[in-house]
Subunit: 83 residues, 2 copies
């Protein structure tokens, strides 16, 4: 299994919180001022977003970016310590 990158872990966290708020990808994209296709690609781990894009997503979810990143770091650490 390949090493989990930070962008992969962030994708998991993003999807979890989007679904937790019952937002569609389109709804989150609209709130974050991003293209729905781009949100879909992010969630499928096909993009390594820039810092400013991650901030827009956090704002779209109404959450501090640092909280999303902390969760992503935990996931990444757990996943990579098993390899």
């Amino acid at each position: 299994m390949r090493r989990l990158e930070m962008s992969d872990a962030f994708a998991l966290v993003l999807r979890r919180h989007r679904e937790g708020k019952a937002f569609s990808q389109e709804k989150l994209a609209e709130k974050a001022d991003l293209h729905p296709t781009y949100v879909g690609m992010l969630e499928r781990c096909l993009r390594n977003p820039t810092l400013n894009v991650t901030k827009k997503l956090a704002q779209g979810l109404g959450m501090p970016l640092s909280k999303l990143i902390a969760e992503a770091e935990t996931i990444q650490q757990k996943s990579n310590s098993r390899k």
Copy 2:
């Protein structure tokens, strides 16, 4: 004054911690496996780094990325609330 972007706030936090550890830009670049010129451009707010690059920088500083992001969010919020 223009709005402070997340990448600008991150640049300030990066420089603060790099200097706090008495690392040159070259030293941090080596630890983070990045080009020294790129680290210099980041610190001058000329780049919006990807999430994976910010993680490499945090690892180079030996700090959780979430801590750097939390500090950057505080700076950004304070700066933009004054505008």
